[in-house]
Amino acid sequence: MRVLLFGIMKDIVAAKTLTIEAELPTVGDLKHWLKQEYPAVQDLKAVMIAVNKAYASDETMLSSEDEIAIIPPLSGG
């Protein structure tokens, strides 16, 4: 699974994208994996996941064809 990174997530991972080999069936599993693998994620105010350019709930199933992005706290405007 390849995921897109933005903002502070690029600094935490030190990359623009992340390729994950682990089996992560849902958005919730991905969030949990991120917090374990990169403890700095736990210090963020929130972290959301977008699947195919829309915010996804923890129950959303992930597939290898999905466009997945990690969305750290927003600060536009």
């Binding site: 897109l4 933005f6 903002g7 502070i8 600094d11 210090d43 963020l44 105010k45 977008a50 350019k53 829309a54 915010y55 992005a69 969305i71 750290p72 706290p73 927003l74 600060s75 536009g76 405007g77």
Partner: protein, 138 residues
């Protein structure tokens, strides 16, 4: 409904206003956001904006759709920058035209408040002694 939604290196608030003006609307309300020269008494050198553009455009389109539905606005323009911006430079411009001013004011406030909450854009603030991603930490 007519809308102008764009993310680019430079934006012109006058373009947003000109886009929404028409004879069917009695009021136009505009919000223009620009870079402040300080945050908590610390001098800000610049901001750098980054966005997840395809999703940001979709989220801005959702906001516009909600504005038509809730306030029957006639025309909406939402422009946001990406890249490096200096104090005083415009970073976001929202213009809303509606038949009456009340709807235009409310819809414009809703647009900027919701943009900050849902549109995937991030800014990094640069000070003399380092940089931070705004709002990342509690």
């Amino acid at each position: 409904m007519e809308q102008l939604i764009r993310i680019s290196d430079n934006i012109d608030a006058a373009e947003a206003v000109a886009f929404v003006q028409s004879e069917e609307s009695g009021g136009v309300v505009t919000f223009i956001g620009s870079v402040r020269n300080q945050t908590k008494q610390k001098k800000v050198l610049k901001l750098v904006f980054e966005c997840y553009e395809p999703m940001a455009i979709l989220e801005m389109e959702k906001i516009a759709a909600q504005m038509y539905e809730k306030w029957q606005v006639k025309r909406v323009a939402m422009l946001h920058v990406t890249g490096e911006k200096l104090p005083g430079e415009v970073v976001v411009a929202i213009a809303v035209a509606a038949p009456h001013r009340g709807a235009a004011f409310e819809a414009c406030q809703y647009a900027i408040d919701t943009l900050k909450e849902t549109v995937p854009i991030w800014k990094q603030e640069f000070f003399e002694d380092g940089a931070v991603w705004v709002a990342a930490h509690p």
